[in-house]
Symmetry: C2
Subunit: 549 residues, 2 copies
């Protein structure tokens, strides 16, 4: 029995039409660094999005689902691209301007981007790559800056404002199947080629509705949002589309991501919520501690991207009365997975336990924990497994490239189509997720998992140990066993037996490492994370002085 | 280019699974009138819903999309039916227990209901109808009460608790196409046969997400909702499904809808929000005025179903510090259309202008105003047209009956598939709807519309006029013209010229009625609304003493 409801697709054009009419008076304000932020109403953003669509179609010949890339900061023009490109049926491909040149080149080629819209300030980054970007026929430069590096480019170069000027301010947006591609974002995978998640109109629409729900960020016309998280990073966590849907005014920081201008934006433009990764908030905290600013407009800031240090959350609340909300997600999850609103009616201490967790899933994100021995684990707050998720805004595959089918690597997707997140953690009976490890960092010992992070945290609590990294090494009997590599505080000989005894008081006997080594420092990646690949290789090549006991 | 997102349907079973796991600890509390409300956790509701599904399938042989009717108050068992019936693939048909016996009989036959779940207290209502309910094979009685009226019924009679007892507490809910029927609700149309809106899994899921958004009712685990609006009336405005999705605990009033028990529920069970039609709130206001109760838990009450008198909204705020939120919708709109949250930063007076309006539409409900002369009107806050809406939870047709195609009456649906709401009003440039008339009550005079409600309100402001009704009567030159029928305060002869002069100071000249009559009282419907059909008939049959001037 079919329903009698209208069959209306969930599309970005619906968000665009709605925001630019019902919420015509909401606005997008871009920080310019010169004391005069640029402010445009949602109606004007909508009109300019229509002009952009006309320019892309009529002047640049964009048809069908061609990929239009953006290499841009968070600003009003990027917002126009966010709306116009999917709404006209093309695919918005946001390029991560922090990627190495090699990866950027590979990604543009894999996506077969036909047009790149670039901020003038990023022309120096793009120009050297252009000769190798064979698919790119047009470069559209937004804003002012030196364009001379583009001289001689094979691609045609346009000025954004000149390109859209004088074109009609409305567009007959096509009715698109909601499962069609709307946007494309590549993960900056540490191993192998980058992989592209292709968001659909449906996934963006549903994710936007979720962002605006009370259990996520509750955007509404009464809010003003400051997405510090880049629009080239999982669609700025979905905030631009969600805000346009809800009528929430946006403050765009453009390239001014340093603590001082961020503090000034908050004081003068008065956002009610903001979102960024921990590093940004760490910098802002120091700035606010050093120079008192009026941050009274901020009801909440969202921290995600990696686990947030509890001290940072507490410092914001205690010293600046800013509530921090912890959230978990990834490129493959659009990205909102879970959000850590605590239950109500708890003591402050109990509340913190919940708030430091990764939070609860919404109805649209089903979760399960895959155990080390196969099968799924109970939600008892103790059984640790790899988190797998399923839902309408969760990836079920990666983009295979033009003319190719989707990629479904086995380590990323289960046989029944769930996303394997690569994160290991527990879920409480009331649905709160706590992540403890990356799956690649747990030690699979005889059908059980040993958390390297837990061992490291205990070891670093020992007074003689400055740093510690625990990695899995092959073991004939158990499959894998932990190797503890420690950095000592002074030059004394290591007392491994004492370290082991110290651990034995804190963890189960079968988890105790048998293999130990002293290292001068823990190898780190460019962003400061422990680089365990290096340690595993050093072990394999016999470069570590390993003691067994 | 297809997206790489998972293709996961939006279904009631997803809401059920989510609510009963992630929000296992939220609860449904049913008022029993004996001082001991019955409370069940969402986990228990989910387990009992599974038992009900097993019973319906294994014991009663329910297959496919058969219709299972409920004739029930708002209570925990009704909640179980709300979840189990759609989740198993059957269709939940909520019967309006206030309908005349004739209509109820017709509706059950038209829907071909195979099973009716009935509250024991409503057995006396159902029993006399049963002999004519040919499709009904099973009656399931919930709760305690006299079942003797069912003795001798052709349908098999079951006890709800006995039926579900001992069955498995989980169910392998089928994966259903989200466009399949989930629930069925008939309008109590004043003319012609009742018409059934068939909600889909998709429409219920999306509507639930919207209810939980900040721009609607912002349900979350931190809230407790009291739906006074019946579950047989447009799914209690979507609150049960939305609350189960959000983890919002529910307080169910069962049959205790009188002011005193409602006040006691609010005081003792402490809901944070409640929803009902104006009549209920009017009664509650009188109760609260007469006997002070602790209503401090209520952050907001939602009023819809018909326009809310401003005095009522203000009385709740001034005398009891309860904020009233105005909302508009109808059976065909699931029902949430618009909600009247005012913009922020306004003076109190300006804010009231917005709050008394019907509010703003969400992205999922597109609106347009069809003008009297064809074409669509601007959103200028002045041009009045018939409201038409489009969206994924808006009806595009009615149920035609088993084996029949959908019904699409021309006066209800536009050629391009929009719902004609039958409501006439204006929309401001910032998207706020104000309804002024029912389309059938406006006077179509020479391609312009005259608002009968506006004329009536002005006339009733005249000191000698107690009541006034204005109806359209045929006119050779203009098509239609207004007839003003007035009820005088005393027995004096009517001074029509003075009445007309009084109106002329307040409305445009071309809107002034030429035809006048005195009547002893305005004819009213059973629910107290002006019954203009009667006046039009009296005019047509020459029963009114009409003066022309």
């Amino acid at each position: 029995m079919l329903s009698t409801m209208q069959d209306v697709p969930l599309t970005v054009s619906r968000i665009l039409r709605h925001g630019s009419t019902v919420h015509a008076g909401s606005h997008v304000t871009t920080w310019t660094g010169d004391g005069a932020p640029e402010r445009r109403g949602f109606d004007e953003i909508g009109a300019r999005a229509a002009q952009l669509a006309h320019a892309l179609r009529d002047e640049l010949g964009v048809v069908g689902d061609q990929r239009i890339a953006t290499l841009m900061w968070n600003n009003g023009v990027h917002m126009e691209a966010y709306l116009a490109i999917p709404a006209m049926g093309a695919v918005l491909h946001t390029l991560n301007l922090r990627l190495p040149a090699e990866q950027l080149t590979w990604i543009v080629g894999h996506a077969a981007d036909r047009v790149i819209i670039v901020d003038a300030t990023l022309v120096p980054l793009l120009a050297p790559l252009l000769p190798r970007l064979d698919s790119v026929e047009h470069v559209v430069v937004a804003g002012s800056g030196d364009r001379s590096p583009l001289a001689g480019a094979r691609a045609r170069v346009h000025d954004y404002e000149e390109l859209i000027a004088g074109r009609p301010t409305d567009f007959d947006w096509p009715e698109i199947d909601e499962r069609e591609a709307a946007a494309l974002c590549y993960t900056s995978g540490t191993t192998g080629d980058p992989k592209g998640a292709v968001y659909s109109h449906r996934s963006i629409y549903l994710h936007s509705m979720h962002v605006n729900s009370a259990e996520a960020f509750a955007l509404s016309p009464r809010e003003t949002a400051l997405p510090v998280v880049p629009m080239f990073h999982v669609n700025a966590w979905g905030l631009p589309h969600a805000a346009f849907m809800a009528g929430t005014s946006l403050i765009m920081p453009d390239r001014f991501l340093q603590p001082a201008p961020l503090a000034e934006m908050i004081e003068t433009l008065r956002p009610t919520m903001a979102a960024a990764v921990p590093t940004i908030w760490q910098g802002l905290l120091a700035e606010l501690d050093a120079k008192r600013r009026d941050t009274g407009s901020l009801r909440a800031v969202v921290i995600g991207g990696s686990a947030c240090p509890p001290a940072l959350m507490k410092a914001f609340e205690d010293r600046h009365a800013i509530r921090v909300i912890h959230a978990w997600g990834m490129t493959e999850t659009s990205p909102l997975g879970s959000v850590s609103h605590p239950p109500h009616g708890l003591s402050e201490e109990e509340e913190w336990t919940y708030r430091l967790s990764q939070g609860r899933f919404p109805a649209s994100v089903e979760a399960r924990l895959a155990g080390p021995g196969g099968g799924f684990l109970p939600w008892d707050g103790e059984s640790a497994g790899e988190l797998e998720v399923r839902g309408p805004w969760i990836a079920g595959a990666y983009y295979g490239g033009a003319g190719e089918g989707p990629l479904r690597p086995e380590d990323k997707f289960s046989e029944d189509g769930w996303l394997r997140t690569g994160d290991v953690g527990t879920i409480t009976p009331d649905g709160y997720l706590t992540l403890t490890d990356r799956a690649k960092d747990v030690i699979k010992s005889g059908g059980e998992w040993i958390s390297s992070v837990e061992l490291e945290n205990h070891l670093m609590g020992h007074p003689e140990i400055a740093e510690a990294a625990v990695v899995a090494v092959p073991d004939e009997k158990w499959g894998e066993r932990p190797l503890a590599a420690v950095v000592l505080r002074d030059g004394n000989a290591p007392d491994y037996a004492a370290f082991k005894a110290y651990l034995a008081e804190r963890i189960a006997r079968w988890q105790l490492p048998e293999r130990w080594a002293v290292i001068p420092a823990v190898p780190k990646t460019s962003v400061g994370k422990f680089d365990k690949k290096v340690l595993r290789r050093q072990y394999a090549q016999g470069e570590l002085d390993v003691v067994e006991l």
